[in-house]
Amino acid sequence: MARMTMIEAVRSAMDVSMARDDDVVVFGEDVGYFGGVFRCTQGLQAKYGKTRCFDTPISESGIVGAAIGMAAYGLKPCVEIQFADYMYPAYDQITQEAARIRYRSNGDFTCPIVLRMPTGGGIFGGQTHSQSPEALFTHVCGLKVVVPSNPFDAKGLLISSIEDPDPVMFLEPKRLYNGPFDGHHERPVTPWSKHELGEVPEGHYTIPIGKAEIRRAGSAVTVVAYGTMVHVALAAAEDAGIDAEVIDLRSLLPLDLDTIVQSVSKTGRCVVVHEATLTSGFGAEVVSLLQEHCFYHLEAPVVRVAGWDTPYPHAQEWDYFPGPARVGRALAEVMEA
């Protein structure tokens, strides 16, 4: 065991995977010599050579397209898109190529690629370094979508993603790279070294894709969250002194519907929290499923807390980013109903 930041955990997952399997290759903009702008791939080129970890031209459709070809050959590319905001030039390759190759060739060709990308705000990144595009991926058949909320999960889930036979979008909340941010921007981030989930095994282990985790047990209300918002939800429940059950989805597609339904059937109340824009966000999917599966257990309308339906602002980012206060108001609202 070692104490790791999420960056170190992600790096360790690639290291372990590259050591175990010669077919795993890592590439992207600035990932080789320099080790990536967030240093997630630091040291991998020195250790595995520059044909297994290398820099690419600034061409996202080229990066993903090449990864698809490599996967068709038999490699397992684990690719870094420098920021999720820059995956749009590759969106076509992701959604219409990677996602469909198995289906359209009836398994003749497959696409075991992982696209890692830093997502979300809270680092003063402005409009083009803060986006959360997960809903754009969950709408696409053939992709898997994973969002870890801590170093332990990040490593286990990334190894699972690399070993997965299908394309996986691996969204890394950059606000969590160095510590379990609690949603209060005026307070310093607690480093992962002070957190139990910063305790990460050095070797190989996996966490199954498609299984949620209950981060806080409770009986009054269920909070469904993922990524950074898990920590915001925990802080909100703490601050409000409400007996809330907090579910960390960990993967959005496939989704662990059973865990959500079980919890909401018990509590009868639910708040869904995400950082991405409200309208047609992933929360809409969760609410819709609850309506279908838990209608008769619900004692209050399900409430969503999300980013506003605007581009991500720079100076006002702490008013955009849902914090414990906003989640707390939503909790109070569903408790009163």
């Binding site: 290759v25 031209p57 090449a66 070809g69 068709a72 219409q96 299908d166």
Partner: protein, 410 residues
Amino acid sequence: MTEFAQLSLHVPEPAVRPGGQPDFSNVKIAKAGAVPRPEVDVAPEDIRDLAYSIIRVLNRDGEAVGPWSGMLSDEALRAGLRHMMKLRAFDARMLMAQRQGKTSFYMQHLGEEAVSCAFRKALRAGDMNFPTYRQAGLLIADDYPMVEMMNQIFSNERDPLHGRQLPIMYSSKEHGFFTVSGNLATQYVQAVGWAMASAIKNDERIAAGWIGDGSTAESDFHSALVFASTYKAPVILNIVNNQWAISTFQGIARGGSGTFAARGLGFGIPALRVDGNDYLAVYAVACWAAERARRNLGPTLIEYVTYRVGAHSTSDDPSAYRPKTESEAWPLGDPVLRLKKHLIVKGVWSEERHTQAEAEIMDEVIEAQKEAEHHGTLHAGGRPSVRDIFEGVYAEMPPHLRRQRQKAGY
């Protein structure tokens, strides 16, 4: 110098439109045998001319001449002729089948048969093509069963792709034919990635990407050239310039100057233009590029200058945008007739044998069609199961899909 004036937008137009006199005077055609054949390890900057000329082997008299000739045995040439004839017969039958409502859609190769049929012969087993929709010759020349192709076209119970793909979007890993995408240009860069993987693994296999003249305008074309050039990938990048992108003439993607091949020059990629209706020239140039790739010398860009004689697809009416007689005016002739003439001139083929071969091939195609139709067509007979809709989206079916499959009753 011209005067300063109000700006105006230039929109390129083809030389003629329906009703006009076809005019290919702007197509500069080198004499057969006139273009030199450099060593495969030549420096790209030393052969810049090859991106502007046209490599040709067969002359007007049906003789093979010049430094790119003499690479194929009589036997191989006769086989090549048969492949092209087979593709043409296959097209004719499938076009008819589409008109009869047995399938929804078809795309033929008329006039372009030499490109894919000859190219395939320069590859080895294990090499991989990333084709677009007009390269069925890659399969035919590799003896992929025609019945399988027809099963795919008819989306019947034996369709290897279980009814999930548009007709003609075949897939065969075994025959080095990557699953065809309906999205243009996406697969060009995938071919480069496959080739990079082969190089990473110190393998001996190479890849080939395919694109049409119109689709070179897509950004993925440029991504592919960047990646191929940066990593010196063992890939052959093919551009089939058949003059038209549906109704849009090739000048719209290319602009008024340069050639498609010349786009490789800025990337330091050796770029060759070849007579796409000359089976011998296509084969020779493809071998040159394949050898470069196999010797780890990197990518080659090849522009095949040809003409799409048929409609773009069964949904297209070419008489609406180009003169009906344009294909007859096309100066590079018909690939089947040119190879036939060459073989006759060589004394290894005859009119009688040709007529006989035509009949044999048509019998073979009809036989295959009977067998395929026995397994169903789009609207009649055996069809893939509804269950197949849900399979194969993922390696393992996730719970939400299982719920949906059950809802559908399967």
